[in-house]
């Protein structure tokens, strides 16, 4: 059972960079990702949107595997700033998990 965490949601909503609300879950990004990571970014954004912080933190290694090559971003039909959003998550994880 994944729990919705309101304070994580609060932080995501407050961010100017994170625009994954526009994501319509189409999966193009996952199909074009050269790393063939199944989670990124369609499922990841779903976790973020719902405020499922635990799920996001669980997937820290995957979030760091991303090359930021922007293949996904170039192909996204909803103009989601995917690479920027991944950076936002890395910074969040850095603060939350590694207390940077």
């Amino acid at each position: 059972m994944a729990l919705v965490n309101p304070s994580f949601l609060q932080e995501v909503k407050a961010s100017k960079e994170f625009n994954a609300t526009a994501c319509m879950n189409c999966g193009v990004c996952s199909a074009v990702c050269p790393l063939e990571i199944d989670l990124l970014p369609r499922k990841l954004f779903r976790y973020v949107l719902l405020g499922l912080e635990d799920k996001v933190l669980e997937n820290t290694p995957v979030i760091y595997q991303c090359l930021l090559c922007k293949m996904c971003e170039a192909n996204c039909t909803a103009d989601v700033n995917i690479a920027e959003n991944i950076r936002f998550l890395r910074s969040y994880i850095g603060r939350k998990l590694y207390k940077l």
Binding site: M1, A2, L3, V4, P6, K13, R46, L50, G51, L52
Partner: protein, 573 residues
Amino acid sequence: MSARRIGVYICYCGGNISDYVDCEKVRNAIAGEEGVVVAKTTMFACSDASQQEIIEDIQQQKLDGMVVASCSPTLHLFTFRGVANRAGLNPYLYVQVNLREQCSWAHTDVPAQATEKAVHLVRAGIAKARLTESLDKIRIDTVPRALVVGGGIAGLRAALALSDLGISVFVAEKSEKVGGWVAEMGRMYPHERRGSDLIAKLVEEIGARENIKVFTHAELTAKSGSVGDFSVQLSVADQTIPLNVGTIVVTTGFGSYEPAPGEFGYGTEGVLTLPEFKRLLDESKGPLVYRGKPVNSIVYVYCVGSRGSSKKEKPNTYCSRYCCNAAMHASSVAHDLSPSLHQFHLFRDIRTYGKYELLYEEARSKGAVFLKFDEQQPPEVEKVDGHFRVQLKDQLTFGDEIQIESDLVVLVTGMEARADKSLNDVLKLPLGLDNFFKEIHPKLRPVETVIDGVFIAGAAQAPRNSAESVASALAATAKSAALLKKGYVELEPLVAVVDTEACTWCSECVCTCPYAAIEKVTAGSKEVAQINSALCKGCGCCVPACPKGALGVKGYTDRQIRAMIDAMGASHE
């Protein structure tokens, strides 16, 4: 020998009939039938040239009966009645036989039998034609007044539009004030105008009209007469008010689904129906507070009481159509009041059709989050320590189980037909399977009912938002006015008649009539049944019920039907 002079025309339908039915053979077989003086085949009976030829035959041959054996009467009955009319022949002396749907199309694999069947059908048509009699349309002078039952946004708008057209209007509103649901509403989609303002404006305009009279606390208690000339009775407070009107527009609106106790937590403090939540929003001036506690998060559960979702015995199976839109709009209004609010929409499908897609877009851009559940696995709502814990499997997150905590749960409840038995005992309007009033045809006759002169509009007919309710109210207005402005209506004369000699007023027939067209009258020294020919549709339900054989329907008399059966069965080899 029959003294009748009948013309028979057998149509090829450009091959539709003649490819399978040997039309020449049919013509030869029936040419010698009693009373037949003209028997012809034609490529297209409905073409201008053929119509002209038939008219000339009628006039030159002094025909007093006419049979066209062609397609379905649904397609061309009125075409050929028109031909008769133009030739000076009473249109009810015309009989149509359907060779296309009943012979050629139905029996493509056996053309010989199709031809044989065609011969039998045409003989039956001729037998009927021999017994036809001239009939005149029933003409009723109309009263230039209308009654609107139900003073919601639909009824009020209809009243104004009728008044614009110079028709006097009575509005009968059951409750203590007009306006219906909309009168109670604040911001509404799609124009963000306040519902209460809209109604206030309509009421002001109605007040300024001399030809509109509004009765509140009013109910329709009796109705008699027929299209163009109804006598109705209103019970207003303790008074009974008789009125005479030409048409009736029924706009009695809808009821809101009330969930069963425990349905998604219903009955627990903090579980609200959509109308209750809307009231909370309308009453809030600043950040949302419910019973003294600030509201930080809301879970919406969609389709409650619609689309088969209900804990009740007979769930409503239809989609209520307004609720996705209204819930999206409520979500945006809630966000505007409390921008930090977290809102989770648990839906089955989002049906923000047409331009209302913009409401969805707006709610989403204001941070609302959408989760999709399967109808077989509805969300579970539980109250734990003053908060709600809602659990579901979100299909958009690949079936993951998700738990949300919230302060309020809003049940996005559907619309229901008002269970108003007393009104329908008077109006006797048919209801659809969904219990809303039913129109004659959803596309082609969307505001007419089987009772001529009684129209339906607004949410009394189907779940509708206000724009759609008003549109249908204006359609009903146009239909009413078209009837009333002409000054008279003409009705089909193919109605039931009573043989008063034979009738003993046993009243067996009364309950068989779906249109309440049979009444008791005194004829000389005895009581007999009488048909109100303006109400009768000629359906024939009453005819077999009469133990005395006193009933018949014009144009379909027992004599005619017997003659047709005899002709069809007769052997001519």
